[in-house]
Structure formats: structure tokens, C-alpha cells
């Protein structure tokens, strides 16, 4: 049987409309462009970086602590952003570091989004004591500073990329649970949910196929802004020396490595990774802020 014909839409499709509204803010477009550029560099780090910073054998130890723009006497390569204490090219280390930072942040936000949304929507749909207990746990967690919870968790779990991700998921899920619950509470009483219930559809299907798509916009906004928080949190933990291991340095750890050299005026080892970190966080915030403005139902009308 042929699919029912859908008349050609005279008005723009929702996605098109969203893109148009997004393009209204030049600042947000600038943010998105910067973000995509940084993401591209991070993803392609092994191919675009002048040097593999993990390959200890390739490092010329006499090239350590060179200022930006120096040319190596041994290999003839130019260190555009200088070298660090172990003769690593700062630019290459930065590109690889951004990769680690982004992997940790994106994975932890997705994990928290998945777990938090599920818990929040189930709480809203079932209600009663399940809802009460789950939301008390959320309140309890949100009343403690995230950075402290993550610190204590990592002191129990130990170091490692997977452990940082786990700690960040535990710290972040509650925000998503709260948002998912509050939007699902509104959706729960809409007619389409009642209709689905009348058709005797299963709870799982109603929650995830019918309610979830309608609850997504605020969750996407929170997830975007939370990505910036996750990057900042990971950088902070790694800067303190209890985040990612030395073998997979993130931006935060690179900044920490350069910290001791900064006092003697060798600013570039910390400064450039620091700038990359700031740029990343600000770009995400510009995109997230504008998304919030256009996806907020109060502003849309």
C-alpha cells in the first residue's frame, strides 16, 4: 500500500524554521562556527597535528621550553605555539588535549541525558511515592556543590578517563531528571497521551514514543549548556591532578603542566591551551543561550 500523500508544505519545515531563527543572531552563528571549527580540529587531531605528542621517541629533549615560532635545530620543524617542558609541540598537545576534553564531556553529557531523562519521565508518568522518592534524591544531590561531589567520587574511584566520565554522569543526571520531569508533568495530561492510553498502548511506548519527542526542546537546551559545564568540570578536575591520567592529557592537565613554568615568564605552555578551553566554553555558551531563546515556548509565541 502506498504511503498517504503528504501535500507539499507551503510553510517552511520545522527544521528549516529553526535554522532560520538561529541565523538571526550573528553572535550565535559565530559561536556555532567556532565550535564546529574546534570540533573538526579535535576530531582530525592525529592528521592535522604537526607532531604526535604521545610518541616520546619523536621528541627532541633539547627543544624543550622554546617560545612560540621557534624552529627546531634538529628537525627543522617550526613550533608555532612553542614547546613545553618535555619538548612537546604545544599546538599538537593542545589539539590532542581538546580531543580528550571533548570525548569526556560529550560522553558524560549523553550518559547523564539518557539516565536523567528516563528517570525524570518515569517519575512524572508513574507519580505517587515513586515520584516523591526520586525527586527527593534529586533535591538532595542538587543541594551539594557538583565539584565537591565529583572530587569525592574520584577519590573513591581513582584516576582514569572512564572514571571521570562516570563521576560527571553522576554529578549531572539530576539536572536532566528535574527538567524532564517538569516538562513531562505538563505533557502527561495532554490529549494525545490520553488518546494513546485509550488505545491501551504500553507505558513504555507512551513514555518514549509519544511523550519524549514533545519533551525534547528544553532538554536539548540544558544539554548544550551542560556541555560547557562538563568541559569546565573535567578541566578543573584534571587541573587539580585527580582527573584524566598523564598518558591522555586533556586541556586542563596541559594547563596544570604549564603552571610551574608560568611563574618564570614562559606563559605559552599554559596560555594557549587555556585560550582553547575558554574559546570552546564561550562558543558553546553563545549557541546554548540563543537556542534557549528560540526554543523557549514563552518566547516562541
Amino acid at each position: 500500500m502506498a504511503a498517504p500523500m503528504i501535500p507539499a508544505a507551503k510553510t517552511a519545515s520545522p527544521r528549516r524554521l529553526l535554522m532560520q531563527r538561529f541565523a538571526e543572531s550573528p553572535l550565535a552563528v559565530l559561536g556555532l562556527g567556532t565550535l564546529l571549527l574546534l570540533l573538526g580540529f579535535a576530531a582530525l587531531a592525529p592528521w592535522v597535528a604537526p607532531q604526535n605528542p604521545y610518541d616520546i621517541g619523536a621528541l627532541e629533549i633539547f627543544d624543550s621550553q622554546l617560545p612560540p615560532g621557534s624552529v627546531s635545530e634538529f628537525t627543522g620543524t617550526t613550533y608555532w605555539l612553542g614547546t613545553d617542558g618535555q619538548a612537546r609541540d604545544v599546538l599538537s598537545a593542545m589539539l590532542y588535549g581538546m580531543r580528550t576534553s571533548l570525548i569526556v564531556a560529550v560522553t558524560s553529557v549523553l550518559g547523564a541525558l539518557l539516565i536523567g531523562t528516563t528517570i525524570g519521565m518515569v517519575a512524572a508518568y508513574i507519580g505517587g511515592w515513586v515520584d516523591a522518592v526520586l525527586m527527593r534524591i534529586v533535591d538532595l544531590q542538587l543541594s551539594f556543590p557538583a565539584i565537591l561531589v565529583a572530587l569525592v567520587l574520584l577519590s573513591v574511584l581513582g584516576q582514569g578517563v572512564d572514571k571521570v566520565i562516570l563521576a560527571l554522569v553522576i554529578v549531572q543526571w539530576a539536572y536532566f531528571a528535574r527538567t524532564a520531569r517538569s516538562t513531562a508533568m505538563v505533557e502527561r495530561n495532554r490529549e494525545y497521551v490520553l488518546a494513546a492510553r485509550c488505545l491501551n498502548l504500553g507505558s513504555r511506548r507512551i513514555i518514549f514514543r509519544h511523550m519524549l519527542p514533545n519533551c525534547l526542546p528544553p532538554l536539548i537546551v540544558i544539554a548544550t549548556i551542560d556541555l560547557a559545564h562538563a568541559i569546565a568540570a573535567e578541566a578543573t578536575l584534571s587541573f587539580l591532578g585527580i582527573g584524566v591520567p598523564v598518558t591522555e592529557p586533556s586541556l586542563g592537565m596541559l594547563i596544570a603542566n604549564g603552571f610551574e613554568f608560568m611563574m618564570s615568564g614562559q606563559y605559552w605552555i599554559s596560555f594557549f591551551p587555556g585560550m582553547a578551553l575558554a574559546l570552546l566554553i564561550l562558543a558553546i555558551n553563545l549557541v546554548g543561550d540563543h537556542l534557549r531563546d528560540i526554543l523557549n515556548p514563552r518566547n516562541a509565541q
Partner: protein, 324 residues
């Protein structure tokens, strides 16, 4: 009102109990402390004796009760490193952290509230837009990053302010204070600015939102119609009415600032309890970590309670709501 206070107190006690169980179970998850205390060549019998001496052979419930009993008497065990009682170590470092946090919060309020009022009074003016743009920087960039930049500019390039330590201290009874000396203020400047900037950014946003809500009210219009000078309208009528959200947020942020002092203290080698926590985590000095966590939980729960009660005291309408 009384029912609310009792209810709120009960809630706080429950939170404290839940957290103490979580921390206790956390210690169990980390594993068997005997592995740290006996030599690797010890026989099984020796291990067994250590376990019995530490009371680890008893049931979980008995162990929890004795752990709580000791904790309530202020006994959190001794540091593995120095052998001093963990509580004493933390209490010794507490004044330094409080000095830092109080100066930082003072700075945040003195800077955040006037700027927030300015931004709220003329939301479309270029100066207001600039204030809001700067506040985004203040609260999205990580604390340690701001600290690093301040060190680079003020300590390394300009050489104006010290970047580490607390300076000389003056003993006042059992407390060692550094703010009583000029050197102490020099030393606290950069760390407090680092910690305070993010809080100032938040207060700017809260104050701005509150100002925009209050400005269209009739009593402000009436005050204007009466011909009161602007200073009186904004300094008395407006300020009084935006005080509630500002006080609530400042109170809650005070707790957050103590937690974030962990980061600031590490950047500036500030000898407070936050730096002690990081050092203890890195050296696996578990009793100190546990003591710090329990003390912080206790402090945060009390702080939340006090903020809630203060809120009731200054906002009569919230008392009405509770009575209904």
C-alpha cells in the same frame, strides 16, 4: 510557622543521616584499610588480628553505629600521614578558608549588586549590555582559568600582587588570622578576586532580574511622582525590595564558594581546608577526606536551614503561604 521550623529541622536531620550512611558505605567500597596498615608479608593470622583490633570483623550495622558514635563526639580518626586527629587538622585550616570566602563574597556583593541594578534600570543601554556580556564570561569560565589569567597579569607581568600563600598571620586566641595585617590583604587580593568574580556575575544576573521586576511597581511610580530624589528611590525603596532574592542567593552561594575554594586554594597555594582536601585525596589520606566531607555536609545542611529561616523572617508573605 513553628510547624514549618520543626518540619525543616527533621528534614535536615534525615539528610544528615542519609549522607552519613552514603559516606560510610563509600568507605566500605574503597576496600579494606588493613591492606594499608599491615606489611605485604604479613600472615593471615596477623591480618586477622589487625582486623579484630580495628573492629572490622563486626557486622556492618555495629560498625556504622560506632563510626557515628565517634563522629558525633568529634572523633573522625587520625590522619595516616601526620597522625594528628583529622578534625583538628581541618579546624586549624578553617580560618584561612573562611577569610578567603568572606572577602570573596564581600567583593561579589559590592560589585554584583550595584552593577546588576544599573543593568536592570536601563536594560537596553550599551553599558548594560556590556555588563551582561562580561557576566557571561564570569560565570562560564572555570575558576582555575580566571585565577591563572589573574596570576599571569598581576603577579607575573606587572609584579603587583603575590600569587601564593597567605602572608604573615596574627594570633587571636586560638585563631590565626592574616587579614589583620596589610600583607594579608595583599595576599588575599588575587584569590578572593578569582573566587568572587563568578559569584559577582551570578549576583549581577539575580539583581538585574529583581530590579526589572520591581521597577514597574506602583510604589516606585508613586515615589517618583512625589518627587523623591533618585538616590532615595533606588537606595531605599528599590533596594529594600530586591534584597530578598539577593540575600537568599548570597547565602546559598556562600556554601558553594567554600566548595569552590578547593580549586582557588590549590591555584594560589592558600593554606585552607580545601587545599588540605586535595592533598589528602592525592596522598590517599582517607580519614581526613571523610572528616572533610562530613563537616561540609553538616555545614551545608545548616546553611540551607538558616537561609530558609532567614527568608521566612524577612519576607512576611512567605510566612502567610506556610500558614495556609
Amino acid at each position: 510557622m513553628l510547624v514549618f521550623v520543626i518540619n525543616r529541622l527533621l528534614q535536615s536531620v534525615i539528610v544528615l543521616l542519609v549522607m552519613s550512611v552514603l559516606v560510610f558505605v563509600g568507605i566500605f567500597l574503597i576496600g579494606d584499610p588493613t591492606a594499608m596498615l599491615v606489611s605485604p608479608e604479613a600472615t593471615d593470622l596477623e591480618r586477622q588480628m589487625v582486623r579484630e583490633a580495628l573492629g572490622l570483623d563486626r557486622s556492618m550495622l555495629v560498625q556504622y553505629l560506632s563510626f557515628m558514635g565517634n563522629a558525633l563526639q568529634g572523633d573522625f580518626g587520625r590522619s595516616f600521614l601526620t597522625g594528628q586527629p583529622a578534625l583538628q587538622l581541618i579546624l586549624e585550616r578553617m580560618p584561612a578558608t573562611f577569610e578567603l570566602v568572606i572577602v570573596a563574597m564581600g567583593f561579589a556583593v559590592l560589585m554584583g549588586v550595584p552593577l546588576g541594578m544599573l543593568a536592570g534600570m536601563r536594560p537596553e543601554a550599551p553599558s548594560s549590555r556590556a555588563i551582561m556580556a562580561l557576566s557571561i564570561f564570569g560565570f562560564s569560565l572555570p575558576t582555575f582559568w580566571i585565577g591563572l589569567m589573574l596570576i599571569m597579569v598581576f603577579a607575573v607581568q606587572l609584579g603587583l600582587l603575590p600569587a601564593s600563600g597567605r602572608g604573615p598571620t596574627v594570633e587571636v586566641g586560638p585563631l590565626k588570622l592574616s587579614l589583620l595585617t596589610l600583607q594579608g590583604w595583599y595576599h588575599v587580593a588575587l584569590p578572593a578576586l578569582t573566587l568572587g568574580l563568578a559569584k559577582a556575575a551570578l549576583l549581577i544576573r539575580v539583581t538585574r532580574a529583581a530590579t526589572r521586576e520591581v521597577l514597574p511597581m506602583d510604589y516606585i511610580k508613586f515615589a517618583r511622582a512625589k518627587g523623591l530624589p533618585a538616590r532615595r528611590i533606588f537606595g531605599v525603596h528599590l533596594l529594600k525590595n530586591i534584597m530578598i532574592p539577593i540575600l537568599t542567593v548570597s547565602g546559598l552561594e556562600f556554601g558553594q564558594a567554600i566548595a569552590f575554594a578547593v580549586v582557588t586554594e590549590s591555584v594560589f597555594s592558600w593554606p585552607g581546608m580545601g587545599k588540605l582536601l586535595i592533598d589528602s585525596i592525592i596522598t590517599l589520606d582517607r580519614p581526613v577526606v571523610v572528616a572533610y566531607v562530613l563537616i561540609m555536609v553538616f555545614f551545608l545542611v545548616i546553611l540551607n536551614l538558616v537561609v530558609d529561616l532567614l527568608y521566612m523572617a524577612i519576607d512576611p508573605s512567605s510566612r502567610e503561604k506556610v500558614r495556609d
